[in-house]
Symmetry: C2
Subunit: 572 residues, 2 copies
């Protein structure tokens, strides 16, 4: 790290925090170069990792917040709002500060000044301490996420807790690395006839402006932490605009971050919450404010595209929707294939941006280790595997979670009435939550010609098994879908190395991440921090990737000062 | 470098070129971290650097092209066009391929496939060889630049030759560095209860699509080479759309690049020329073609903003216009100040994006080493220094060059008729070129309240010395101009360290590069490759900087393939 050392605020813990967390940061910096396996925050909720009563304490802490005001002491608070509805039927009833945009953004802009003036090192110390405290609150954030998003507990813990924290640290490391490449000072000595011309150059990292982070309803922290930490460490203040149905996990996050800022002697308004309700959305207005220099968004394609085209004053990073495909060419392990896909389709009821939707299978069938399998054999194996996986309701609800939105329920209902359904979506009762809306995946059999059915995103527990003329046509249709609607993941099953190479080329052209022959524990849905690049930015599913250099390099600018060294021959 | 080693085309010289040029690349990679003085290509046209008859040979070679067809053997050539008018009155008369966009872009897209499949290393080898050959053609390109842009010979040689080549190498190094940070392979081993889950991950650098480079009329190569080389080395094909009045320097460049590509066994259509005329402009159409994934532009604010808002399918990088300021607070060396500013204002008749326009001076005068100087003393010193610098026509023309466009002449004429002119623009006869349009700078005295006169860009030999209430007001007006119109450079003269610190803060807020107390050889106009960040991207003067990580990180995407290692416990 070579940037200038400016003192942190008097008495600040920032320097000590940097020293304390430096080993973790160094490990993160090393891992983003190898992209090998590493995790900074344990993904198992085991008491060995988080303490004996951590889960119960987290649950108690979270439940104590239900039905109360979430006080944040933010300037520009003009009322209290909140309309979260739990897919599990839990009564949330939390209200959050209703913001006056002018007043809040003015305070955040003021707070940004000292934050930007602190060096990357001190900002990193503060951000790493934020992550450490967020990690300690993993159970509380997990229950907040579970109750608001409909994720089952284990997913809520891992995805909203340690996995999100890992993603935040990954982005922090990329941003820190990018700033570290810029020297703070250079003595520029150009040879001349007599004495060299000597010029002192000072380089300064300057922020882009407030970073607005617009979160998704389904993965409020996992999709937001990368932007929040990348923005912060590069000197920008952050305003978080959660989805109106999952404010709580991010409100807790913001509360922790504001506490750490205050403790370090910074204005806590470096991080603020901007909550809204479905009836009075504020994202469009916020995203086009002149104070906002960065916008990060995860959610629908339509609003993501609106932001890309309208938030002109800002650098916009999006993760939007997509249609993910599976291409089945041949397999050595049809039962393993079916089991793996069944889990991928069922996990969180298909409400992941990485869930496969379209499964392309040649109508003439495929080769397997046990001989030929007809199209119906493959379709049957997948359907039976889903049925088997979800046959015991108490196990099923821990995989399926609950349906987050009415729109998803409507989609399932509409698809249920259409032709080709081979596995109907069933309603399950949740043993713990009587109000939970739990529905098993629907699988329909379609033909390659039914593009109007499968050609768009059907978010939720809906999958299509589609008969094609050949694997070549399957690859073409999968790639076409990715190019037109976007896609984040693709899976290929093939025992033929030539087909694998061909699929890699298709996937690279379509800008989609490919997984090959998944028959075991690895699911295509999983995207591992420090290793998997999530979204490529190379198709309509988004214009950014978690996390590459492009995700961080535009979050700051460099200004410089040149001063001729007095007394050199050319100075006067 | 860790990306996959794919073989270059059979018999390709790419690998040998990489080895040959690796020392230069390594030096460039080291220098972008220190931003200390270094130049890869000698800036002196001395025979010691370029050979005994290089200048004469270059001139002969260039003049042999005048009045002829510039053959490039490009597909989609449907006619011959060209309308370059020399500011020196030289008859250019060169015609270039008139393109059929469908046919040319289809050929370029086809050519891009093998280019993208080659590894960064081989692409870098080819690109470095291109630079080496372009360097050998520096004199020919210098005369082409001189005749088409109106630059005097020495500037044309340095800026269009070695300085542009240095900038190209700098961007190449940043791009290579960014790709080098992405591993081509990772074995991801996640600990499990029994055996770890092992996943092989392959990462692939994929191009964004054709890189369209739209060049400026005044610095056709200096502003284009960074984008061209960054695009190429990241796997994108390049289409160069020169300004219709300075096609020749880029046509020569494209010819050399196509030759190197062919010699390396690549399709030469990886680089193509798209010339046009003022009557039939093609830039808007080209910039919005779906094949185009990257657009780099240098030129007017209006067209740059149009591109930012309309070339939605592409990543757009712009350098637009600005209003550069000088703030004079106090000085130890008024004569040095006046001489330095006189040179800055006169160089290439103020037709540089780095030329100061607005000189702010407190109306109460300033402190100098020789006592107080009134506002008129300062204004008089600057005016006299300009007069003195340009008193001998044969010397003056080597500084001023010639006026590139009618629009600039019209501006000078219009300003000449307005009140406040203290130094009139004079017409000079050029000893070698009777048709050259040579005009000395105009200086007008304005008041801070005359913002409608000085508040916009007056490109060309026009400068305003503006009376302000105080240095504080000077800084505010300078910063306001930068924020509203953009600015690339600013100069402060002050003997007071507190004012210098204050000006640095103003400059950082306004996103402008600051130079302090220039009284000797260093001119604010100069922007040194490998050291000075040219344009910050932090004000309306442009959205990109030469060269930082943000300039290269978005020129490629990463796709990945995950394959579970067969036989591991979790594989099935």
């Amino acid at each position: 790290m070579t940037t200038t050392t400016a003192p942190p605020p008097a008495g600040s813990a920032a320097a000590a925090w940097f020293d304390q967390h430096q080993p973790l940061l160094d490990r993160a910096l090393a891992t983003i170069r190898t992209r090998e396996y590493w995790s900074a925050y344990p993904e198992s909720p085991s008491p060995k990792n988080y303490g004996e009563n951590a889960q119960a304490q987290g649950k108690t802490a979270l439940e104590a917040r239900l039905g109360t005001r979430f006080e944040l002491a933010q300037p520009g608070t003009v009322g209290w709002i909140g309309a979260e509805r739990s897919p599990f039927g839990v009564a949330i009833g939390v209200t959050y500060p209703q913001i006056d945009q002018d007043a809040l953004l003015a305070a955040v802009t003021r707070a940004q000044r000292d934050w930007a003036a602190a060096t990357p090192k001190y900002r990193a110390g503060v951000a790493m301490e934020m992550l450490a405290r967020i990690n300690k609150a993993s159970f509380e954030i997990a229950f907040a996420t579970m109750y608001t998003t409909g994720q089952a507990f284990m997913m809520a813990f891992q995805a909203a807790g340690p996995h999100a924290q890992d993603r935040g640290l990954e982005a922090l490391a990329y941003a820190y690395d990018a700033m570290s490449d810029v020297p703070s000072f250079a003595l520029w000595e150009k040879p001349q006839k007599n004495e060299p011309l000597r010029v002192e150059k000072r380089y300064r990292i300057v922020p882009r402006g407030i970073g607005l982070v617009i979160a998704s309803s389904t993965f409020p922290t996992w999709n937001s932490y990368p932007a929040m930490f990348a923005d912060l460490v590069t000197g920008n203040a952050v305003v978080v605009k959660p989805h109106p149905n999952s404010i709580l996990p991010l409100a807790i996050t913001v509360e922790i971050m504001r506490g750490v800022l205050a403790e370090a002697g910074f204005d806590p308004n470096v991080v603020a919450l901007a909550a809204d309700t479905p009836e009075s959305p504020i994202a469009k207005q916020l995203a086009t404010r002149p104070e906002v220099g960065l916008v990060d968004y995860t959610g629908s394609s339509s609003f993501g595209t609106w932001l890309e085209q309208n938030a002109k004053q800002a650098q916009v990073f999006t993760e939007k929707a997509g249609v993910n495909a599976v291409v089945i060419d041949s397999t050595d392990d049809l039962p393993g294939l079916a089991k793996n896909l069944a889990m991928s389709l069922s996990l969180y009821s298909g409400q992941m941006c990485t869930t496969p939707q379209n499964v392309f299978v040649p109508r003439a069938g495929i080769k397997t280790a046990d001989g030929d399998a007809s199209f119906d054999d493959v379709l049957g194996a997948i359907s039976k595997a889903v049925e088997g996986l979800l046959s015991a309701p108490e196990r099923a609800v821990e995989i399926l979670g609950a349906i987050a939105t009415d729109a998803t329920l409507e989609r399932v209902k509409a698809e249920s009435a259409k032709p080709g359904v081979v596995l109907a979506s069933k309603t399950l009762a949740h043993p713990q939550f009587p109000g939970a809306r739990v529905h098993t995946p629907l699988i329909a059999r379609l033909d390659a010609s039914d593009e109007e059915r499968y050609g768009g995103e059907m978010f939720g527990p809906i999958a299509f098994v589609i008969a094609t003329d050949s694997t070549e046509q399957s690859l073409e249709l999968a790639a076409r879908g990715a190019r037109s609607c976007g896609a984040i993941t693709a899976v290929l099953y093939s025992a033929d190395p030539a087909v694998i190479v061909r699929a890699e080329d298709f996937a690279a052209d379509a800008g989609v991440s490919l997984a090959v022959n998944l028959t075991g524990a690895l699911l295509v849905n999983q995207s591992a921090a420090f290793s998997d690049f999530h979204v490529t930015g190379a198709n309509p599913a988004g214009n950014a990737s978690l996390t590459d250099a492009a995700f961080v390099a535009n979050r700051f600018r460099i200004t410089q000062t040149r001063t001729v060294v007095p007394g050199t021959a050319s100075a006067g």
